[in-house]
Symmetry: C2
Subunit: 218 residues, 2 copies
DNA sequence: TTCATGTATTCTGTATTCATAATTCAAGGT
DNA sequence: ACCTTGAATTATGAATACAGAATACATGAA
């Protein structure tokens, strides 16, 4: 590829999401723009542009005069996000060409089975999960829908690090992925859609207990 | 209410959406930030913040070095947006409390019937339609979902002015709204959901013919 | 001691300035 | 005549500067 020339705001946005994954930011804590800009080696302007973008995606919240903060986690919001993603992903599946889905099923199955690798890195696992879902939706012709899914999932990143080191959760996940892939291989899209919904809803229920109740935990 | 103190970027965003509704902007035409900022009486900074927000919502698109432009309309995108909103609104309906929906049904019916008012203003009609859908979804407990619907609908505003003066379209719309409300009154949420989906899909098909094919029409 | 009030400080929100990429147009060469 | 090339112009992307709101703190009264 040639020299990449992308707006700083996008690079900053990605860097912030990365840091979010690493759990660098205390949720609910105000962001100091000057400090963060200095840390990133950029000026406040593109930083603020990135912050505004993230606020639009629900990753951050902004209050007049008090700037931005990483939105505190709450089981209610997590539930809401899961419901949304479940709806969007199953919609994407319904809009995909059934034949192409069937073609893709073996690959999906292979990926799902190779899930609980020996002792994979945590970040590796999360990436793996994302990749599986991306592959699943890749054939959906509705590009706006795919963008939307990506955007909403960005808002869920605050919750992903909570599953750190939970092997049982991941096994259940892999199991359900297999089931979805099986349905697709059989050409039964409605069943696959239902299984996908279940995947998100049950995942939500498994997670919801480990979300701290009190919002203002310093 | 007290004194309103909101960031300029939000006010600017709304003003731009308003102008979009009025059809002030030629789709596909580049936006000159200096000129527009002067026109609005603000500096480029909050204007750019609003533009970035709108780009995140899909109303605008931005290309490196070439700034922002109102995304050209395309029947493909319109179809995609309709599919998304249909999915999101029916999801919202499914997540609502059936009893509350039934309580609300008479009001919905009343509004739907009062639809094709004598010779209402175009903007009035659009507002009326929005209000009906807002009322329909108002009882959904998933706040994030409602925000998302609002955001996606903002991206559809570029298409609303295309229905100007199409009475038959509006009549069909009112008719379908009645049908949805009837289902809700009967307590049949699945049927209402299906009707809502149909409402969007058929609306899409009715509209799709009047979207100019060529993107670069000055 | 506790609460209220005034002041100082910090940080955001907005404006302005600067640098550089993109576009336009004209001149020269094929 | 047409294409290429380069300078000039224009507009964006980014940095800096400024004004005002929000917060913290200290001082004083009840």
């Amino acid at each position: 590829m040639g020299i990449q020339r992308r707006p700083l705001r996008e690079q900053i946005r990605e860097e912030l999401l990365l840091r979010l994954d690493r759990g660098d930011f205390a949720a609910g804590k105000d962001i100091n723009e000057v400090v963060l800009a200095a840390e990133l080696g950029v000026s406040r302007t593109p930083l603020r542009e990135a912050l505004i973008t993230l606020a639009g995606e629900g990753v951050l919240e902004s209050n007049q005069g008090r700037g931005f903060r990483f939105a505190p986690v709450s089981s209610k919001e997590f539930r809401e996000l899961c419901e949304i993603v479940a709806g969007l992903e199953s919609l994407a599946l319904e809009l995909s060409d059934p034949d192409e889905l069937r073609e893709m099923a073996p690959e999906l199955l292979r990926l799902a089975r190779g899930f609980p690798d020996p002792v994979a890195e945590q970040s590796e696992i999360e990436w793996h999960d994302d990749e599986w879902h991306d592959l699943l939706l890749g054939r959906c012709p509705n590009e706006r829908l795919l963008d939307l899914v990506t955007s909403v999932k960005a808002g869920m990143r605050r919750y992903t690090h909570l599953i750190a080191g939970e092997d049982t959760l991941l096994e259940r996940e892999a199991e359900e992925h297999c089931r979805i892939a099986e349905h697709l291989r059989a050409g039964d899209v409605p069943a696959a859609t239902a299984a996908l919904r279940d995947n998100w809803i049950s995942g939500m229920e498994r997670m919801t207990s480990r979300i701290p109740a009190a919002p203002g935990t310093a």
